[in-house]
Symmetry: C2
Amino acid sequence: MARVKDPGEKSPSSIQAEVQAAVALCRQRGGHVTPLREAVLTALLSARGPIGAYDLKERVSDAVGRPISPASIYRALDFLIAQGVAARIESRNAFVASEHPGHDHTCILFVCDACGSSSEIENETLERLLAADARELGFSIDHRVIELSGACAECRTPAK
Amino acid sequence: MARVKDPGEKSPSSIQAEVQAAVALCRQRGGHVTPLREAVLTALLSARGPIGAYDLKERVSDAVGRPISPASIYRALDFLIAQGVAARIESRNAFVASEHPGHDHTCILFVCDACGSSSEIENETLERLLAADARELGFSIDHRVIELSGACAECRTPAK
DNA sequence: CACTCAATGCAACATTGTAGCATTTGAGGG
DNA sequence: CCCTCAAATGCTACAATGTTGCATTGAGTG
């Protein structure tokens, strides 16, 4: 249930480690991790939470020293999402690095309206409930989107 | 757990009845139902499922005999959603008339990738689970988005 | 080295959603 | 009945997000 909180950016070294872990995971799965894809992943992880594709484009362009087109950003994101190391937040048109890559099951995403941070959790019971509802409807689920917005713990008790 | 299925459009008379019911509900709540808002609601109900804002704009423009701007459509949709008689499908950038207006609690939305139909259901147990998860995180939930995409019963067993 | 296929570059475009401000409409008070 | 005021709408332009098509590059393979 790892949290994303820290105000400001993460420390470069910890990001580096996370990038390497995610890259290794992708390669284990036969994914072809290119410099651009790694740059996009690094930018995603460097952001302290969800980030829009065009903001990401700016950061990646700065990082690699040349302009990257939106199409390239979206393609890299497609790859990272397919590999399970990134996720799209539908209700925000934004993207976020997955907090626990390697887990295929769908996460429940809590997004704070105040600070923009996000938390991923998993809940097997809830997934079983959804599966049961689907069965009752005769519906076969491909993809799940579960996004809750509101105020995170920090933003609810700012002073303490 | 009402279904939306019928291929093609609904019968005009039943739509008329649904529009009137939704309009009455809005008025009970103190909502100001204008001709434009009613026209948008009618167009939403006439569609056999989720519909994009710009498609809606075309239909409403045709219906009222003059061009309606996107801004007006979005404003009408905001009203209808606030009144609980319409919903936005985040994962599709589309809108749908609510199947059981009057219920404030969040619905779980099943959207068929094949035929585009959608079904709303409610699940109290699931809501309690989400509330429990939120409590554990110290998170205060404002808004819920639960959207499942896949294949509906009809599209899974086309011949039968 | 040549071939091939995935990945990227690049440009133009499509779709979705908003901002700002003028104008109209409609409910309620005089 | 008319006035007034706020809400709703019209309207224009624009912002943000996402995609298509095709040329080019580059890494791995025979």
